[in-house]
């Protein structure tokens, strides 16, 4: 009787059971060992700290980036206010950094049009500058009766509670230099 090695036997029996079993592939007959240790998603990423852009508590987060792409954002355990914990918005910050609904190009809507046109920055900035200057020049009021007022009544500015301090400062500086008096933002509402 030929000494049936287990391997050969397996191929015979598996082949002959009506095809329910595939031909055996690389065989390891030992019972399963724990599969290889799962690697951490944030293995080999560069980490930077940031502060959550949502409410005013100011929780700390760590952003893990691998070759330029955000792969994970979670709480910063060293931050004294949140000690690594985050609410539902904070933990969802990843879907702000990685979200195909994010605006990626300048858009322009012509008067009366019903859709956006994609434009370039080179086109948009001069156009915006032209309009700001035209409206300022048209609605600038140097005198109110005998009082000098130097204000632009035709331009209003809204916004900035989610901007950085430096950005808010520059907008405050630029707006006042343009004479804007209707300067408001979310703190009012």
């Amino acid at each position: 009787m030929s000494n049936l090695s287990r391997r050969k036997f397996m191929t015979i029996s598996s082949a002959t059971t009506g095809g329910a079993l595939l031909a055996s592939l690389g065989l390891t007959l030992e019972p399963t060992t724990a599969s290889a240790r799962p690697t951490l998603k944030t293995e080999g990423t560069t980490e930077t700290t940031t502060i959550c852009p949502y409410c005013g508590v100011g929780c700390g987060l760590i952003v893990s980036v691998r070759n330029g792409k955000v792969v994970n954002i979670e709480g910063d355990p060293d931050h004294p206010v949140n000690e690594g914990s985050l609410c539902s918005k904070g933990t969802a910050l990843y879907q702000i950094a990685v979200n195909d609904r994010r605006l990626q190009k300048v858009r322009y809507r012509a008067p009366g049009s019903d859709r956006w046109e994609e434009k370039s920055w080179e086109w948009a900035l001069p156009e915006i500058t032209k309009r700001i200057k035209a409206t300022r020049d048209a609605t600038f009021k140097a005198k109110d009766g005998d009082k000098t007022v130097n204000r632009t009544e035709g331009i209003a500015g809204l916004g900035g509670a989610a901007l950085d301090n430096e950005e808010c400062y520059l907008w405050s500086k630029l707006a006042r230099s343009l004479g804007v008096v209707y300067l408001e933002h979310q703190a009012r509402i």
Partner: protein, 267 residues
């Protein structure tokens, strides 16, 4: 053995854990609709994309209506019924605590779903290559010494991660400290042989959607008596049947000899 203590009395329902689980495990969001659940609960149930879910339960506590939150997820049993039942060991209990799933070994037989006492395993019912899915206690984080993503996200320490014995002691300590506040039972300490996810609550556990009528013996113990004797049966039957065959064949042989003798005499 690592474990999680969920003190539902500290939970404020911010659902940071529910999103942190999706963030770390890369689970997509679900298409949901407001369904007037008792509170703001959404989605309705665990699924392939939602491995943990906060339930909002409105209950009369003392003199006013209160919101009580439950956290549905895999309980990571000490002796998991899913691992015991899986024909290809696709579900595996790691010594560190988490019960993990190896999708490439899964046949999709769903026996684990039937066996699971906490009804948490979910299946891709509408996929041509379906897998099951459940919380893995962020095994990759736990194995590298970190805490699961949901525990880290919890602001009020409603979720705490650590050694199982330490957490059980802490849970009982909390019950003794304010007996009026807690139901005097640590859910998961003994259920189906004990689990690595322990719950404390101020309202009866059924109200949070947990089953409180589960046997204390782990479900694996129920199938063991049927599986243990297999080698003995094989041996016993091979001996017995061999013996029978021997006897029967000898009787037939003698019968045939007698019969052929008769035929020879008749000729």
């Amino acid at each position: 053995m690592k474990a999680m203590l969920i003190d539902t009395t500290r939970c404020v329902g911010c659902r940071g854990c529910q999103v942190a689980c999706k963030q770390w495990n890369g689970l997509p969001a679900e298409e949901t609709v407001f369904f007037g659940g008792p509170g703001y609960q959404n989605p309705r149930d665990l699924s392939g994309k939602t491995w943990t879910l906060i339930t909002y339960n409105e209950a009369q506590v003392g003199d006013h209506y209160d919101w009580v939150y439950g956290k549905l997820q895999c309980m990571h049993c000490q002796e998991p019924a899913c691992a015991a039942s899986c024909p290809t060991s696709a579900m595996e209990k790691l010594p560190e605590g988490p019960v993990v799933y190896h999708p490439n070994q899964c046949l999709g037989c769903r026996y684990c779903m039937l066996a699971c006492p906490f009804q948490v395993i979910r299946f891709d019912w509408f996929s041509a290559n379906p897998y099951v899915s459940k919380c893995t206690m962020c095994a990759d984080r736990v194995l590298s010494g970190q805490e699961p993503a949901c525990v880290k996200a919890c602001p009020t320490d409603a979720l705490v991660f650590g050694d199982r014995e330490v957490l059980i002691a802490e849970a009982h300590h909390r019950i003794e400290d304010n007996p009026r506040k807690y139901v005097h039972h640590v859910f998961g300490e003994h259920e189906v042989g004990g689990t690595c996810v322990l719950h404390l609550s101020t309202v009866p556990f059924e109200l949070l959607g947990y089953r409180s009528d589960l046997p204390e013996k782990s479900l694996r113990r129920w199938t063991e008596p049927a599986m243990k004797p297999i080698p003995y049966i094989v041996v016993a039957l091979s001996l017995a049947l061999g013996g029978v065959a021997w006897i029967v064949n000898r009787r037939d042989k003698r019968l045939v000899e007698k019969w052929t003798k008769q035929v020879k005499e008749m000729q």
